[in-house]
């Protein structure tokens, strides 16, 4: 009997549940129910190069999948592998990816070739983007690369790099009565004075000269091209460019032997161990002297603005963005992912939980939480980062040289020319004259009209 009553009770309960479900179905039409997980069954394919941002984001992706019902297939490769594969996929009209990293150096090319979807269509639709997401919150200097000449937006920045100057041995500098250099001349003087003291090199750098050198060329009033991106005529043998090359080559005389082939890791290691005094590079590489646990120079380090040239103060900066390929199969789902990945909430969680400081949202960088976490030895690193990151967005976009499609060819030639100067094989004038001729010939061979 006991068993029978239990069976009867289960049946009754089941019946009640079924009735309730039926009532609910009658009350809410099927489409509304489906909207609770609007992208159920969708598999979103995305790709980027490996970066700490995405490694951290992957931890939160299950939350996003739970919320939307979609499955995210995020393919991460090394930078050269990713660029190669994404370039081929997009330029051949493929639809394998729903969202992609829009690599800084490729952005202009992809946008000009019409390979990316205009994201203003998503941000301009109140049904797709709530007002609080606020696309204008992204730092303008980081966003400028992801716009077409008409102002259309093709990517939102997830990571910014801003060139700063790290000094690891302020103790040595103070002993010698040296102040933090603010101009090129002062930089030259400090590097030469410190070099060799206590076995410390004056400064350290790394092998990508076409990243490190242009701020000096621009500092003297020159540029890599005549007027990029509209006029890509190389400008490698202008008096200003020659002056910049000579200056940087002289600066490297205060660097460790073999610095011309140093990798970023080697340069950072030299700073962390106090074997080199100055390193001028993106904040992510410079700030570890204050923030890293490995740092042996935390007490004697400072991070400041890189020195200004006699004509311009143009510290390099860059950003990486996420965009949607024009032929993506799931554009709305991809936008949902971008909106979520670059939301204020996720950005703040990345900062608070993982110390990821290269966020490009102004409201996050200027928040109290961010400032507290990124103020070390009284230095507000976030303020420095923001100041430099937004500079190309103010007036002259001096970083435009970097994103033109002609830069890879001219950049390689610039690298070789600089090595000839730094190793004493050729005077700067001869090397840069030859480089100019080579660059023009190479661009013409590649089909560029000059």
């Amino acid at each position: 009997m006991k068993t029978a009553s239990r069976v009867s009770s289960i049946n009754r309960r089941t019946l009640l549940k079924a009735s309730a479900a039926g009532a609910a179905l009658a009350a809410f039409p099927a489409p509304l129910i489906a909207q609770t997980k609007p992208f159920a069954g969708v598999t979103l394919h995305g790709a980027s190069f490996q970066h700490r941002f995405f490694t951290l984001l992957q931890k939160y992706i299950p939350e996003f999948e739970e919320k939307t019902g979609m499955k995210v297939d995020l393919q991460l490769s090394s930078l050269p592998v990713y660029n190669q594969q994404a370039n081929l996929e997009l330029s051949s009209g493929g639809s394998a990816y729903d969202f992609v990293n829009v690599t800084f150096t490729l952005a202009t090319r992809w946008i000009a070739a019409g390979l990316l979807a205009n994201l203003d269509e998503f941000t301009g639709d109140a049904n797709l983007t709530p007002a609080e997401w606020n696309p204008k919150d992204f730092v303008d200097g980081a966003q400028v690369t992801y716009r077409d000449p008409k102002g259309g937006t093709y990517g939102f920045a997830w990571e910014g790099g801003a060139m700063l100057m790290g000094l690891s041995r302020m103790d040595l500098m103070e002993k010698k009565g040296l102040k933090i250099p603010k101009t090129f001349d002062e930089l030259q003087h400090v590097c030469a004075e410190i070099n060799g003291t206590d076995g410390v090199s004056g400064l350290v750098s790394w092998f990508l000269h076409n990243w490190n050198l242009p701020p000096y060329i621009q500092g003297f009033g020159g540029n890599v091209f005549r007027n990029p991106p509209g006029d890509p005529m190389p400008a490698l043998n202008t008096p200003e460019a020659i002056q910049g090359v000579e200056f940087y080559a002289k600066l490297l005389k205060s660097a460790p032997t073999g610095v011309l082939t140093y990798t970023e890791d080697q340069a950072r290691q030299a700073m962390l161990t106090g074997r080199a005094n100055i390193f001028i590079h993106s904040s992510a590489w410079v700030t570890p002297i204050l923030l890293s646990e490995e740092s042996k120079v935390k007490e004697t380090s400072r991070v400041v603005r890189s020195p200004a040239g006699p004509v311009h103060d143009y510290p390099a900066s860059n950003s990486q963005g996420i965009g949607i390929p024009k032929n993506a199969k799931n554009k709305k789902a991809a936008w949902e992912f971008i909106k979520w990945a670059l939301s204020k909430e996720i950005s703040m969680r990345l900062v608070k939980e993982h110390g990821h400081s290269s966020i490009c949202r102004r409201s996050i960088i200027t928040s109290d939480d961010y400032r507290k976490l990124n103020t070390v030895n009284g230095q507000d690193l976030g303020a420095l980062y923001l100041e430099v990151l937004e500079m190309p967005g103010k007036g002259d976009n001096y970083m435009a040289y970097r994103t033109t499609k002609e830069f890879p060819i001219v950049g390689d030639i610039l690298n070789k020319a600089f090595e000839q100067v730094a190793t004493g094989q050729l005077p700067a004038k001869d090397a840069m004259n030859a480089a100019q001729d080579q660059a023009i010939a190479a661009l013409r061979r590649a089909g560029t009209k000059l």
């Binding site: 051949s92 394998a96 460790p256 890791d265």
Partner: protein, 275 residues
């Protein structure tokens, strides 16, 4: 000069052999020692020659996507080698025994496919594979490697078959053997060194390929050479893992070569004495 004086181990010869070996092996030894160091130790200057070895790079590789890529490499290289031999060896035999007018022209036509650089084929392969759904599959890689190895097999094996006297086969046929039996029981055992040498070269081509794997794979069929490059991260290169991955990538080829070295030497030097 007699044979015994040629074989004498004089100090000069020993020094010459040692120096040669050091030069030949130094890149491998350098890579191997790097794989047992931490990133910090690798970046130290001057590099420490005495250090406490660590297995952390190999353990990290084991737990990363590299292990799957390694299996993908093994699968694509061995399957494509087997397929190329399966089709190429009989084709080489047929070409060797054929005495028709177009023989030389056909032989040359087979080799033509190896003359163009891989880049010439990669983009058409990419577009075609995307169309038929073979992108990022082991099958796709195996087909590409087989198509490139097939001419090599035919060209390498044909001279081996040419050296086998036709009278041997005729004698077997007179004794009542079928053509298939003659090929499998008499001819094939005689060209084993050639097959071993050819197999090594086919395996090496597929195993070391970077370019096709870079373009035609993504994550599912990614091979070990491409996976090693993935340790060159935006934030820095993981030198230890790159070295450990590089050492592991070399291991199967070394093992395979050692296993068939008896055949390999005779196979690769066959032409030197048989002209």
């Amino acid at each position: 000069m007699n044979e015994s004086s040629l074989r004498k181990a004089t100090p000069g010869r020993l020094i010459a052999i040692t120096v040669t070996l050091l030069i030949l092996l130094s890149p491998f030894l350098w890579l191997l020692q790097m794989s047992f160091k931490t990133n910090d130790q690798i970046l130290q200057f001057p590099p420490p020659l005495i250090f406490t070895p660590t297995l952390e790079n190999y353990i990290a590789l084991w737990h990363s996507a590299f292990s799957a890529s390694f299996v993908n490499s093994l699968l694509s290289a061995s399957l494509s080698t087997a397929l190329a031999l399966l089709f190429g060896v009989p084709a080489a035999y047929a070409l060797s025994r054929w005495s028709g007018r177009g023989k030389h022209g056909l032989s040359f036509a087979i080799l033509v496919t190896r003359m163009a650089p891989p880049i010439a084929f990669t983009i058409p392969f990419f577009l075609f594979y995307r169309w038929i759904g073979l992108l990022d599959t082991i099958t796709g890689l195996v087909l590409v490697y087989t198509s490139f190895n097939l001419p090599l097999v035919i060209w390498m094996m044909q001279p081996f078959f040419d050296t086998i006297p036709l009278s041997l086969e005729e004698a077997a046929l007179v004794d009542g053997a079928r053509t298939r039996t003659v090929f499998t029981k008499i001819v094939l055992p005689m060209v084993t060194p050639g097959i071993a040498a050819t197999a090594i070269l086919c395996f090496l081509y597929a195993w070391n390929d970077f370019f096709f794997a870079l373009i035609l794979t993504r994550t599912n069929a990614r091979t070990a050479p491409v996976a090693v490059v993935n340790f060159m991260n935006y934030e820095g290169w993981e030198w230890g893992k790159i070295a450990a991955g590089g050492s592991l990538v070399m291991a199967p080829v070394l093992i395979f070569s050692l296993a068939v070295r008896r055949y390999l030497v005779s196979g690769l030097t066959a032409g030197a004495v048989k002209g």
